[in-house]
């Protein structure tokens, strides 16, 4: 190969990916397969549960299959994030069976984790940015996490309460810190 022949696409990733139309086709096919599998599961769940599962599945799948980089993709990706979060929050609220303070703190912890982790997954361009704003958000979320885990663990021995809360919060903060793509 002569040096003059080295081709460079405008987006370097394009040389390694499926064509955009193929990506969209694969996404649609996988969505149809997902819907088909869900329709075959007979567990006596209500229709709302199936809708929630399907929306979350669509949201998890999207950034894995769709590698197009443009304004439409970012907007749609965040849209799916919103849809999935709305579905999860709705389902969690209907799932509430106890209003005991510790139970509520566990529900809140679950929602907090899902909010951040799903955002990591779907808003990767924003989540990867190492800026002051992101670090303030990480600190705030970690503080909230600490408060609620402390509330839950306060029923146990003080060592478990204090050290358990600190360790779990460190784990949470480390997991949600912005990650470098390379």
């Amino acid at each position: 190969m002569r040096e003059e022949e080295f081709p460079i696409p405008k987006r370097l990733e394009d040389a390694y990916r499926f064509k955009p139309s193929t990506q969209i086709l694969i996404y649609i096919v996988l969505l149809v397969i997902g819907a088909l599998v869900l329709s075959m599961i007979k567990l006596g769940w209500s229709l709302t549960v199936y809708i929630v599962i399907f929306i979350v599945y669509a949201a998890l799948l999207f950034p894995v299959v769709i590698k197009i980089e443009n304004q439409w993709k970012t907007a749609f990706s965040l849209g799916l994030y919103g849809a999935a979060m709305a579905a999860i929050i709705y389902w969690t609220i209907t799932f509430l069976e106890s209003f005991d303070l510790r139970s509520v703190s566990l529900y809140v912890l679950f929602l907090l984790i899902m909010t951040v982790e799903l955002f990591h997954h779907l808003g990767e361009d924003i989540a990867y940015e190492e800026s002051k704003k992101v670090y303030i958000a990480v600190a705030t979320l970690s503080a909230l996490f600490f408060i609620f885990i402390y509330m839950f663990l306060s029923a146990y021995d003080w060592r478990i309460t204090v050290f358990g809360s600190i360790l779990a919060t460190i784990l949470f903060a480390y997991a949600i810190l912005p990650e470098k793509p390379i």
Binding site: E3, Y16, I51, E69, L80, G82, M85, A86, F110, E129
Partner: protein
């Protein structure tokens, strides 16, 4: 039925709102575009420039330019000292500390490519950590469906009085995700940023041989006999789906029987071209595509509509 309507309404409303927010976030900033254009047009090839010079070219205020340059710096596109800035080569993905180390060791050579061998993703055994999450899910399913009544009553017994078992199961799923994500970060940090591969215009290829190495591996420009690019089936498939494409780059060295293999290098085709260029002693390719490469690196901040 009312539940389904409410759920659908919430999903559609949240989707619409977030699409609008996403559209606004992803909208290209014309000032940012101006600054990038000014740098690409006037200061390619790592020439230093002053904030005021960019302000003069773009017609923006110095404060505005400084804010934009700081943003570009966090993305690794430029690096600055005081009011002076310099474009980082678009194919350099090293941390600032490792880039400094590479410059020091290559005696301030023009670094054309710098990245880490990624021993992580394409090795299936690393993916076994996701089994931890799978184990959590199995545990949750067993308790939720009361498959083993003994297990369910054990969970009830360890929980404080009044705490819902289902709430605890949801919390377990959440903590499973957090635990695996944190573990993933630890493994990446440990494994990824240790094996640097640096290609300098004059110094040739420098690379780390072990975890504690300081780029002791060296292949001088004149010693490169041949360079090859290889993708395993797993790498090929993964490249369709992972964020940064990887592949192996094999360098045959004159007088050495065994080639040097750089495993799972990010953007392997581009590394192949860079090595080929320095082997041929001609950077025409790099110069010709410098603008495209720079625009590509900056495009992460300026998505095309």
């Amino acid at each position: 039925m009312l539940e389904v309507i409410w759920l659908t309404f919430s999903i559609v409303a949240a989707f619409g709102t977030c699409v609008l927010i996403g559209w606004k976030i992803a909208k290209s900033d014309p000032d940012l575009q101006k600054v990038i254009d000014a740098i690409v047009s006037h200061y390619l090839d790592e020439r230093r420039f002053h904030i005021n010079k960019i302000a003069e070219i773009t017609g923006l205020s110095s404060n505005k330019v400084e804010r934009i340059l700081k943003k570009l710096e966090t993305r690794g596109i430029v690096r600055g000292k005081g009011k002076m800035y310099q474009l980082v080569d678009p194919l350099v993905f090293l941390t600032p500390i490792d880039l400094e180390r590479a410059r020091r060791i290559t005696k301030d050579d023009n670094i054309l490519y710098g990245a880490y061998q990624n021993p992580y993703l394409p090795r299936l055994y690393f993916l076994t950590m996701y089994l931890i999450f799978a184990a959590v899910i199995v545990f949750v399913v067993l308790v939720f469906f009361n498959v083993f009544p003994g297990l369910t009553s054990w969970v009830q017994n360890i929980l404080p009085e009044g705490v819902s078992v289902n709430a605890f199961l949801l919390f377990m799923i959440g903590m499973g995700i957090i635990f695996v994500d944190a573990l993933d970060n630890i493994i990446k940090a440990w494994a990824r940023e240790k094996y640097s591969v640096v290609v300098g215009e004059k110094s040739g290829i420098s690379y780390d041989r072990s975890l504690a190495d300081e780029l002791s591996g060296k292949i001088r420009r004149g010693m490169i006999e041949d360079v090859d690019l290889q993708f395993s089936l797993l790498q090929k498939i993964l490249n369709y789906f992972i964020r940064v494409p990887v592949g192996d780059v094999i360098v045959k060295v004159k007088g050495q029987r065994e080639p040097v293999v750089f495993k799972n290098m990010p953007y392997p085709r581009e590394l192949f071209y860079v090595i080929r260029s320095i082997q041929l002693g001609s950077l025409g390719w790099r110069k010709r595509h410098a603008r495209t490469l720079m625009m590509w690196r900056a495009r992460a901040m300026v998505p095309a509509a």
